[in-house]
Amino acid sequence: MTVGEIIFFFTVFVTMIGALAAVLARSIVHALLGLITTMFGIAGLYVYLNSTFLAMMEMLVYVGAISILIAFAIMLLGSYSGMSGNLRAVGKLTLAGGTAVVSVYIFFKFVLTNMNPLSFAKYLVTTKDIGRVFTENLVLPFELISLLLVVAIIGAVMLAIIARNVK
């Protein structure tokens, strides 16, 4: 194994641990920390998938915006966002068992049966390529996303105005 591979496996490991922590952590802030770890790991995986730009966007959008937003909300809510109301032991066991069975089934059925390495080409996804795709073939989704964001902004502002009047 090379250094690169060790780092790669570490990244995979970190991603999975983070995902587990995001689900299982008792404190909601710790769960958020798990989510951030996962995102960090995924950004690393994007680098291994030859798209640095995407990795950076992952950091910028998920870590920089979304998780900070969530953390902000947790802090605004203060005592409400506590750890109350998780499932009891029986529920947990059932859930874990069910998830494990289904995932193992899918893993063996679809993933392991197709272990042969897929074709590898040394293409580096540059910012230019993505931009070209967006402007040539994906114009409509791109515009729709802009529209969605605008609607989301307006909606959030409306909700904030409503929230101000609730008391």
Binding site: M1, V23, A31, T38, I42, Y62, S67, V102, G155
Partner: protein, 107 residues
């Protein structure tokens, strides 16, 4: 070069799958709305990873997967901001944010 582990698509798929299941489990397991939101983000992240990996191994010359992942990010940003606004509203109205007790839809 081609036998390097990080050129094996299955690993990426596995991670994406794992995140999907973690997310689903979290959606069921968490009862506070923020916890559920975090699980949602896990699922979206997994989907993004899956898209990029497939794109990279199946047709690396057209970065449609990367583009769609960017779109997912946009959706996630919009979704989480709206969700958080709603959660804050709910907390002000009901003084808690547990999903089980939210029975009225009308405000």
């Amino acid at each position: 070069m081609s036998d390097m582990f990080y050129n094996n698509g299955n690993i990426y798929f596995f991670v994406a799958l794992f995140m999907l299941f973690c997310g689903i489990a979290g959606l069921v397991y968490r009862r506070t709305l923020i916890g559920m939101l975090i699980s949602m983000e896990l699922i979206l992240n997994g989907a993004g990873l899956n898209l990029v990996a497939i794109n990279r191994f199946i047709s690396p010359e057209n970065p449609y997967g990367a583009a769609f992942t960017l779109i997912i990010m946009g959706i996630a940003a919009a979704e989480s901001s709206l969700a958080l606004a709603i959660i804050i509203l709910i907390s002000k109205r009901y003084h808690h944010i547990e999903s089980g007790d939210l029975k009225e839809l009308k405000f």
